[in-house]
């Protein structure tokens, strides 16, 4: 009897203390994206991308949006920081803001230039927020611009940019985490950058059902932050793979270059011929899916030098030159041409980062720290000033293992060359 009473008394407090944070699903406003813009010093404009469950429902059942309602809504509010703005926003919302699915954070260019230090704290502190979050800088625009734009392929622009990012060859959904890690390492930071782009060619709708390309969101490249976490500049799409490759994060990329076809295809010609004067050149595209990077710091004197060896493995996806790819020596020619081209590109971008941005986004400082911890201690404080003048020895070596389903082109070659 006493045992039963004791058991009951032990059970009852559970009901009193348990997590009484029960919140029905239909009383929550699910936030998929969160944007921050700088209005003026100390005043931020927060924008939230909320799921509209009703619209998704009709969309799911009948295919397409019903009655012109899109699957999301945006709401905005001013505030002194994230939480303050969120509270101000809550006054306009009938449901509790639920940030547990906030996978995408947008930062306006103005705020990025002003510096992101002051607003990033909440993203790491709040227990509701996932560490695997994308953070984007909106180039030449505000977060609100990017978030209000309807995206055609997905119901929600926040989901759309997340998916675009996933296809970009960079690590998936960890740009916020990586930003925090980098900021604590070499002190600078990098974030993917978005841009609102108009269609390449403007076209009018001729009939109601036409669907010409529209202004849409696009992944521009990467935004680079200096050690004060202010925007230093951008690397465009064709530049930021360099950073990914050097830091060993690239998962797939297509490289296209022009090959000097005529000289290269001479019978008995050497691989180097592919590089000589481009009298008649055509493009060759190579898809590389395995990347390797090896960075070795070498000390000659006081300052280190870095040996960077980039390796890749891929196959030829497109060959518009008259090169006969069924011959091994021709593939070697493409390899040689590619290596030279890629090395040139890498050097260019590295130089741009060193001279223009002065931010060690390649993690060279971290490498130094790992290889020579004591020397790094001396250098760490001045790294920002030392980095732009560091000597880099870059070598790229591609290994092409395939030519697709055909070797020789299926079309007859009318421009000459060896068959």
């Amino acid at each position: 009897m006493y045992r039963k009473i004791t058991a009951l008394l032990l059970i009852l407090p559970l009901l009193l203390t348990g997590c009484w944070d029960r919140q029905e699903l239909n009383d929550q406003a699910i936030v998929l994206g969160w944007g921050m813009d700088l209005e003026k010093e100390g005043v931020y404009l927060a924008t939230a991308n909320l799921v509209l469950p009703l619209a998704s429902k009709s969309g799911g059942q009948q295919g397409g949006e019903q009655g012109g309602r899109s699957g999301f809504m945006t709401e905005s509010a001013y505030g002194k920081n994230n939480r303050d703005a969120e509270q101000n926003m809550q006054r306009k919302l009938s449901r509790v803001i639920f940030p547990g699915h906030r996978r995408n954070i947008f930062i306006g260019e103005k705020l990025a230039e002003h510096g992101v230090f002051s607003i990033l704290d909440e993203y790491g502190r709040s227990p509701m927020v996932r560490p695997r979050t994308n953070i984007f800088v909106v180039k030449e625009g505000t977060a609100q611009d990017a978030m209000s734009l309807a995206y055609q392929l997905e119901t929600n622009p926040a989901i759309a940019v997340q998916k675009i990012q996933e296809k970009s060859g960079a690590p998936i959904s960890r740009s916020l985490l990586d930003f925090f890690i980098m900021a604590n390492g070499t002190g600078c930071g990098i974030m993917p950058a978005l841009k609102i782009v108009p269609p390449e060619v403007k076209m009018d709708k001729k009939s109601k059902n036409d669907s010409p390309p529209q202004t849409t969101l696009s992944l521009y490249g990467a935004a680079i932050f200096n050690s004060r976490l202010k925007l230093a500049g951008y690397l465009n799409h064709n530049e930021y793979w360099v950073r990914l490759w050097i830091t060993d994060q690239l998962t797939g990329w297509n490289f296209t270059t022009i090959v000097n076809a005529i000289d290269a295809d001479q019978p008995g010609g050497a691989a180097a011929d592919a590089l000589s004067g481009a009298t008649s050149s055509q493009a060759v595209t190579v898809n590389v899916d395995t990347f390797k990077s090896q960075i070795t710091p070498v000390f000659d004197g006081e300052l280190p030098r870095f040996r960077i060896r980039l390796q890749g493995k891929g196959y030829i996806e497109e060959n518009d030159s008259p090169l006969n790819l069924s011959k091994t020596e021709n593939i070697e020619k493409v390899e040689a041409r590619m290596n030279v081209y890629l090395e040139e590109r890498v050097r260019e971008v590295v130089k741009k980062v060193q001279k223009d941005f002065k931010s060690d986004i390649f993690g060279l400082g971290d490498m130094l720290h790992q290889f020579h911890p004591y020397r790094w201690k001396k250098l760490a404080a001045d790294w920002e000033t030392v980095f732009p003048d560091i000597e880099l020895d870059i070598k790229v070596k591609l290994n092409l293992t395939g030519t697709g389903v055909t070797g020789e082109s299926l079309l007859p070659d009318s421009e000459g060359g060896d068959k």
Binding site: G18, C19, R22, Q23, L25, N26, I30, P53, H101, R130
Partner: protein, 503 residues
């Protein structure tokens, strides 16, 4: 009634008289108003020389006529003596093929008559000859209805005790199979048989079973479940501690594992004890299918077992407390499905589970003519209209029907009922405390399950406490040639299914 008890409790047993008329009167008093008791007198020349008493419908009347009545009459006709018939003579009268016994006590005669034997009272003898010509109406052996198999024997136990024992005996042709007889129930005098394999079973287990059965003091044993409730260790546990089966092959394999079975007359369900949790999850098909497939199916079953317990509570906890755990696209689609639903998820789940259980309960006892009506109402009204009306959300209907299907994946029905019942408190707890509550509940449940020890055998054995060499019939179903060792908790120590093979 009072008289009867007085007779049975008197110290000296009441003996029969040598006066036939007195004896018959005594019997008529005993069977007053028992219209099914027949008296057949053999009057020769106006004098009653012998009387046969048997219960109508419980003996083979034709055989009684042919082997008892006719020889008697012929004997009396041919015999010149009128006064008395000697015992030896009488015995000679009947062809020796009938089982005949001689009884002197009144109570024994009464019991024998009630068992269906034919009592032969003769003039001048203070004893009764009992002819065992019992033949009762019984149904033929049919296919098991509650435990279906794809491949395996089709026969099932029936209500007749001896038929059931014969089903066992013809599977185990060994004198090691012991079938001890006992009579239980003050009024019903139900025969039960305790079966076990000598040399495999632990002696203490048989002793314990005997002891517990002897303590049963009931007026009647109507089903084997009456016994089950009496001998269970923990009667307040939701988990069954005695398995029941209507399949002789299950009973036989249990016997060979060292378990004890109890066959009850008039019940087609044989009790197998002690039950362990894992034996409740092993189906006959596991052993008739190839072992790889059997292992696969067993894992599906384990999954569904947990689905039947956890799915509704997990859904409620996830959607009301832990939204961030669900993948984003799923959360959006659940949110849109729940849009406009007026009830909280817990209440929604409780209502739907309740309705499902009601449908199931109604379905068991449906007369065949109204069956379609209920299934139409159940499937259409509950399944569709409720969602169309926006009272219950679609995911909830999916969850409940999945849970419903899963709860029928249990090979042993009464283990399934335990889980079905536990679903409701778990649902409440998850609605109040979320994952925290579910985990608390599961901890309490696990503690309870490992502390259960029906007949001294741990309920979760061989998993907890673990005997590694027996796990090959728990997590997987190993080929028969690899399952050498019997469970040490059940069988005598060192008992193996086959001797060690020579290399």
């Amino acid at each position: 009634m009072e008289q009867q008890t007085r007779f049975s409790k008197s110290e000296e047993p009441e003996m029969l008289s040598s006066d036939l008329a007195f004896n018959i009167e005594r019997m008529q008093l005993e069977f007053l108003n028992c219209s099914d008791v027949l008296y057949r007198h053999c009057s020769i020349g106006g004098i009653n020389r012998a009387t046969l008493i048997h219960v109508d419908g419980m003996c083979n009347v034709q055989a009684v006529d042919e082997f008892v009545l006719q020889p008697l009459i012929e004997h009396f006709r041919s015999s010149s003596r009128v006064d008395e018939v000697r015992e030896v003579e009488l015995k000679e009268v009947f062809i020796p093929s009938i089982k005949i016994s001689i009884v002197y006590e009144t109570q024994k005669v009464i019991k024998a008559i009630l068992r269906g034997e034919t009592a032969i009272f003769t003039e001048g003898n203070a004893f009764v000859m009992l002819a065992d010509l019992v033949k009762m109406e019984q149904r033929s052996i049919e296919e098991a209805t509650s435990e279906k198999v794809v491949r395996g024997p089709r026969d099932a136990f029936i209500e007749s005790l001896r038929t059931n024992t014969s089903l066992l005996r013809r599977r185990i042709r060994s004198s090691k199979l012991k079938l001890e007889c006992m009579t239980l129930g003050r009024l019903t005098e139900t025969e039960i048989v305790i079966g076990y394999m000598e040399g495999i079973v632990k002696e203490e287990l048989v002793k314990e079973v005997r002891k517990r059965l002897q303590t049963i003091e009931l007026d009647g044993i109507i089903h084997s479940s009456n016994i089950e409730e009496y001998i269970e260790d923990n009667m307040f546990s939701p988990f069954p501690q005695v398995q029941n089966t209507e399949r002789p092959d299950v009973a036989v394999s249990s016997l060979l594992e060292g378990k004890v079975i109890i066959i009850t007359d008039n019940t087609p369900f044989v009790l197998v004890l002690p039950m362990t949790y894992w034996s409740g999850l092993q189906a006959v098909d596991d052993y008739t299918d190839r072992f790889i497939y059997a292992t696969f199916v067993r894992w599906i079953r384990y999954t569904f077992v947990h689905v039947s317990l956890l799915l509704p509570s997990l859904y409620v906890a996830l959607t009301t407390y832990h939204l961030q755990v669900i993948p984003t696209p799923l959360v959006v689609s659940i949110a849109s499905a729940r849009e406009g639903v007026p009830l909280p998820a817990v209440i929604e789940a409780l209502i739907m589970e309740f309705i499902f259980e009601g449908l199931r309960e109604a379905g068991i006892r449906l007369p065949q003519q109204v069956g379609p009506a209920v299934s139409i109402a159940g499937a259409l009204v509950i399944g569709q209209a409720v969602v169309a009306a926006g009272i219950i959300s679609t995911p909830m209907v999916i969850i409940v029907s999945l849970t419903g299907i899963a709860s029928f994946a249990f090979p042993v029905y009464n283990l399934g009922t335990a889980y079905r019942m536990l679903r409701f408190p778990l649902l409440l707890v998850s609605g109040v405390l979320g994952f925290y509550g579910i985990v608390l509940f599961l901890i309490v449940l696990s503690v309870h399950m490992v502390t259960l020890e029906p007949f001294g055998v741990p309920y979760m054995s061989p998993y907890a406490p673990m005997t590694i060499r027996n796990l090959n019939d728990v997590l997987v179903r190993a080929p028969k040639s690899k399952m050498r060792w019997l469970q040490p908790w059940l069988a005598q120590s060192g008992a193996a299914r086959f001797p060690k093979r020579k290399k």
